[in-house]
């Protein structure tokens, strides 16, 4: 019923605005389903990060995209067996020792989990800057770099 009512009110919206919004969600869903390898790689990288802090029950884990009304979300249920000790976490978060002279700036470190799947991008980067997506996962770790503008993965902290 609420569904029907919301559709009734939506009729007042210019139909092109509805079209644009629907397309946004449709394309997210399509792009994810059409590149399963890439998103498997993404999930793998996520787990690498989480493992630094947590001991996870990987068999009970579920990570998937969900397409609900007006929102496209990444839902993760990750059973936690243990939270690592302070020492273990500190150790895991330290950058791997480099043979060459150490860099002060953490950004200079190459991302340790650079995936091979990026050799041929799905498409070239957009010319225009993307508007911040409405539904960002609240659990996303805040990037530690001072600049909030980078679009790449957060640099390894430390």
């Amino acid at each position: 019923m609420i569904d029907f009512l919301s559709r009734f009110f939506r009729r007042e919206e210019a139909s092109k605005t509805m079209a644009k919004e629907r397309l946004r969600l449709i394309l997210m869903s399509d792009r994810v389903s059409l590149a399963p390898d890439i998103f498997d790689a993404m999930k793998g990288e996520m787990l690498e990060v989480l493992r630094r802090y947590l001991e996870i029950d990987e068999r009970g884990m579920d990570v998937h995209f969900e397409n609900a009304e007006r929102q496209f979300a990444l839902l993760a249920t990750i059973p936690v067996r243990e939270v690592r000790t302070h020492d273990a976490i500190a150790l895991a978060r330290q950058p791997a020792p480099q043979p060459a002279a150490a860099h002060e700036n953490g950004l200079a470190h190459p991302d340790p989990v650079e995936s091979e799947a990026t050799s041929e991008p799905i498409r070239p980067p957009r010319r225009r800057r993307r508007r911040r997506p409405r539904s960002s996962s609240p659990a996303a770790p805040q990037p530690e770099s001072p600049s909030d503008q980078n679009e790449g993965p957060p640099p390894p902290p430390g």
Binding site: R10, S15, M18, A19, R22, L25, I26, S29, S33, N67
Partner: protein
């Protein structure tokens, strides 16, 4: 199976009467042959050859109109990899499983079927978006259509453009075909080709879509008669071109729900003709009123 029972309860009154009537009208017990309780719905493929003539829009709107007439309908998106029936019906958010999952046994039919938001007796069987048309074996497709016919009064199959495996899969299992064309040379040529490729037993009907009466009058567009002089098919509908179609697709609602839409009205009439009603096919007048038409005839006003 409980789910199948629920589906049967939603059967339209028309079907129920069929199964009851013979018993009461039998002359003597010896003549009475009990009808099987299993329904056999009609399977209709909507095809064209040429892309973009309105197969998907026709499938969605016909399905909706038939549901409004009280029948249980399933619309099947056979366009693996380029699905759009879900979008036209505004159900894209509810799609999780699809036709290929059912065929491959990864889920039940009920898990894949998406119920329409407004019409409970209209359901969608979505296509897979990330697979190829070659992935669907023809015999499995035929089995699926047979299964669907046991549950629904109408199985409408939205065929992809072209004449490749996608087309072949959509056609297998269909007893009837509605060929959709527009009054343009390429579309008519492709429709003709498609008719040649359909199996002999299939019952073929024609819908001429996107007719612009003003252009036909001016002689810059073929008339329906011109089109059917070439195709020579049983005509069941003529649908005018309207901006409302674009607005409807933007919103994800069927155009038959838009007040005053001639296109919508045309689809409703087609549904009624499919149900056996003998409704004459109207000659479309332009939307402009008599005065404007009068002026134009005199050579005054917009050309």
């Amino acid at each position: 199976m409980p789910d199948v029972e629920n589906e049967r309860r939603e059967t339209s009154p028309a079907i129920v009467e069929q199964t009851v009537a013979p018993a009461s009208s039998a002359a003597s017990p010896a003549e009475f042959t009990p009808r099987p309780a299993v329904k056999t719905g009609r399977s209709i493929v909507l095809t064209s050859g040429k892309g973009g003539v309105g197969k998907t829009t026709t499938t969605a709107n016909l399905g909706t109109a038939l549901a409004d007439a009280g029948h249980s309908v399933v619309v099947v998106d056979a366009d693996v990899g380029l699905r759009n029936l879900d979008v036209v019906l505004g159900l894209e958010n509810r799609v999780s499983k699809h036709l290929l999952d059912v065929i491959e046994g990864k889920c039940t039919l009920d898990e894949a079927l998406v119920r329409d938001r407004v019409r409970r007796n209209l359901q969608l069987l979505p296509a897979a978006q990330n697979r190829e048309k070659d992935d669907v074996p023809e015999d499995k497709m035929a089995d699926l259509v047979r299964q669907l016919r046991e549950r629904f009064d109408f199985v409408l199959i939205d065929c992809p453009a072209g004449i490749e495996q996608g087309f072949r899969n959509a056609v297998v299992g269909a007893q009837e075909a509605v060929v959709v064309t527009t009054p343009e040379v390429s579309a008519v040529r492709d429709a003709d080709r498609i008719v040649g490729l359909l199996p002999q037993e299939i019952v073929i009907k024609l819908v001429v879509n996107r007719v612009r009466p003003a252009m036909v009058r001016k002689g810059t567009m073929m008339s329906v008669a011109d089109v059917n002089a070439i195709l020579r098919l049983d005509l069941i509908g003529v649908v005018p071109d309207e901006r409302e179609i674009i607005i409807a697709t933007n919103r994800g609602t069927p155009v038959i729900d838009i007040e005053g839409s001639e296109t919508g009205a045309a689809f409703r009439r087609i549904a009624r003709r499919l149900l056996g009603e003998d409704i004459p096919i109207p000659l479309f007048e332009d939307k402009s009123n008599f005065f404007t038409r009068f002026m134009t005839t005199l050579g005054v006003g917009r050309s």
